[in-house]
């Protein structure tokens, strides 16, 4: 069952590579949140009931419902154009995602030889998700897309912490504090309504006069 969920998580990354719409990315985040909730349920034996309850609620309410809702609301309120506006084409993005998968699985297979306590599929997908999140941040213009990239990266980190958490359960709770950071970022974007892209202050022609 865990294998199917983790593979489904990997498929969401392929969808993220071919979509052009912000709302599709939000839907991908909802699906990822649900998968992480299901993975948490499967890993319930590794955690004490308090940690389990907290993490399960966090994935279901925060990652799956609240964050996507806030993102949709921010797009609507700030009148952000609905397209992703990436610097690269979908074809390039998909090809790169395949390369990321290849690299991550190579690392995962190698890692299995280094550490017997790791499930390579989970590690490979988690690692690929972190890299994909970083790529979305780098390859897109809009701040809201950067935020979604950060969210995808954070989901990958959460998956990785679930994979590692058998050894040190409190590390999963530590990782959740990343969501506090995320909440602050969303609050700034939502309340302050800063413009959707920035100029580079040090690029020629954009040097600040203040």
């Amino acid at each position: 069952m865990l294998e199917i969920l983790v593979l489904a998580f990997g498929v969401t990354l392929l969808f993220a590579s071919v979509t052009n719409m912000l709302h599709s990315l939000i839907r991908i985040l909802v699906v990822q949140g649900l998968i992480l909730f299901a993975v948490t349920l499967l890993k319930s034996t590794q955690l004490n009931w308090l940690s389990f309850g907290f993490i399960a609620l966090e994935t279901l309410i925060f990652k799956t419902i609240l964050i996507p809702w806030f993102l949709s609301d921010t797009i609507r309120h700030n009148a952000i154009h609905r397209e992703v506006e990436a610097y690269v084409s979908n074809f390039f993005s998909l090809t790169l995602m395949s390369v990321i998968f290849l690299g991550s699985f190579a690392l995962a297979i190698f890692s299995e030889q280094q550490s017997g306590k790791l499930f390579p599929l989970e590690f490979g997908i988690a690692f690929a998700t972190i890299i994909k999140g970083l790529f979305i941040i780098i390859a897109n213009k809009k701040l809201i897309t950067h935020l979604m990239g950060y969210l995808i990266m954070e989901n990958g980190i959460f998956l990785l912490s679930l994979a590692v958490g058998g050894d040190l359960p409190h590390i999963i709770s530590l990782g959740i504090s990343l969501d506090i950071m995320l909440s602050v970022l969303i609050a700034v974007l939502f309340i302050k309504r800063i413009k959707s892209t920035f100029d580079d202050a040090d690029s020629p022609g954009h040097l600040r006069e203040d």
């Binding site: 950067h146 950060y150 980190i157 590390i171 530590l174 995320l182 202050a201 040090d202 040097l207």
Partner: protein, 448 residues
């Protein structure tokens, strides 16, 4: 008991701040915190090992923060009259919480907890950066929050991999890690992520983008703390993991990475200093340069490690003084564009002298401690056979020095008889910091 007081005060003072009705009272509340902070720091120095779990490295960073915080707290007196009470109250509360988060990062020995507190410094300081509530300060705060969040997330990946590096009984507590059992593969991978992650917060190239914006948009006392204290706090976990790397026999990888990131940072600073027009951004790029030099020092190892610690100390004191002088200039001219600023000598002679003294000391002329640290770095490079990199480094430092002198002298020269007066504390704080730096540059402290 003392660590409890250290963290209880900012929490209680934050509650008290909510009912205070004047900006001056808020400033005195912060000043009291700074006095308490330095008293605890001096007590900790005189009675080593008696300040909770704080070790010498934590105490070193804590004391630097103490001196800077006290200077900043004095500098703020009577400076908040033009700000609205509500905004100034929030600013004062977050300033105390920011200091508390840095203290906690110095105090704890658990890598996971250090990570949490470094994350807390990001959130609290972002509120300080956006204090002016202008479009540019909001953008700077967002950029800072976002880029550092990505860095912090990468550092967390490094911590997860560090757990994997421990085959049995995984722990993040520095005293409980069994170094000889660590898996070399996972430790190396973990260190790369930790260095890149915390390196983002240290302001090392190529992840330095947030630093010039944040340091130039924040109010001067905040810039002083960001550059002088926060960058050191971000360096702390790297230095702690560095000890593990060295003990595990993988110091060479760490040193090579420090050298690459250090040189890249100095190079980036050189390029951007040449074209910057904002004198606060100039100081921010100088911070990138100096953090690069610190990494080069740790990368060289041996005697250069002493230079690294001395450089951390000297840079913190001098750069904080430099930023406070920049705050004085901004108060006089209300402009950050250096081309619009001239005749500082005529308008405010004391600030002009302090500005030039800070310039001389940050460039590493005697009696600055940076003179000694740079000398040791260059000596170590020669003795280890890094001749070409040494020549390149000297050339880059020369370009930075020329550019900073050209801009700073240009701001001081010119004719204008319209005198500007500033409160006494705005001179005393940078003077005290420069004086301490000069004393340390002559009487060189010993680091164990």
């Amino acid at each position: 008991m003392l660590p409890i007081i250290l963290f209880a005060y900012p929490i209680l003072a934050s509650l008290v701040a909510l009912i205070l009705d004047r900006n001056l009272k808020l400033e005195l509340l912060v000043l009291l915190h700074a006095l308490l902070h330095i008293s605890i720091g001096i007590y900790g120095f005189l009675n080593r090992g008696n300040l909770g779990s704080m070790d010498d490295l934590g105490l070193f960073m804590f004391l630097i923060t103490s001196f800077l915080y006290l200077a900043v707290a004095f500098y703020r007196i009577n400076s908040g009259t033009e700000h609205a009470l509500k905004a100034y109250r929030i600013h004062s509360i977050f300033l105390m919480l920011f200091i508390a988060a840095m203290d906690a990062a110095c105090l704890v020995k658990d890598i996971g907890l250090i990570w949490v507190f470094v994350e807390a410094t990001t959130i609290t300081s972002a509120m300080l950066i956006s204090f002016e509530n202008s479009k540019s300060s909001l953008e700077a705060a967002w950029k800072y929050l976002f880029i550092c969040s990505v860095g912090i997330a990468l550092a967390f990946v490094g911590i997860l991999l560090f757990v994997l590096a421990q085959p049995e009984q995984a722990s993040l507590h520095l005293g409980k890690i069994q170094v000889h059992t660590l898996s070399p593969f996972w430790l190396k991978l973990s260190f790369i992520f930790i260095l890149v992650g915390f390196g983002t917060k240290i302001g090392l190239a190529p992840l330095h983008f947030w630093l010039p914006d944040a340091h130039s948009e924040a109010p001067a006392p905040v810039s002083a703390l960001l550059s002088g204290a926060l960058l050191n706090t971000a360096l702390l976990p790297v230095l702690r993991i560095d000890r593990i790397m060295r003990n595990a026999g993988m110091g060479n990888l760490a040193q090579d990475l420090y050298l690459v990131m250090g040189f890249l940072s100095v190079f980036v600073a050189t390029v951007f200093i040449l074209k910057t027009r904002n004198y606060k951004r100039l100081l921010a790029y100088s911070s990138i340069e100096n953090m690069g030099l610190i990494m080069i020092a740790f990368g060289l190892g041996g005697v250069a490690i002493y230079a690294g610690y001395l450089h951390i100390l000297g840079h913190s004191l001098v750069k904080a003084a430099f930023f406070l002088c920049a705050g004085n200039i901004l108060s006089i001219y209300h402009d950050k564009h250096h081309a619009n600023i001239n005749s500082l000598f005529n308008r405010n002679r004391t600030t002009a002298w302090l500005w030039l003294l800070a310039l001389i000391m940050i460039l590493g002329f005697p009696p600055s401690p940076l003179f000694v640290s740079k000398f040791f770095i260059i000596s170590a490079m020669i003795s280890q056979g890094y001749i070409l990199p040494m020549i390149a480094l000297i050339l880059m430092l020369a370009v930075i020095a020329w550019s900073m002198m050209r801009i700073s002298l240009g701001m001081c020269c010119g004719e204008n008889q319209n005198k500007a007066r500033l409160p006494l504390w705005t001179y005393l704080s940078p003077t005290a910091l420069l004086l301490i730096a000069a004393i340390l540059g002559i009487w060189l402290p010993a680091f164990d």
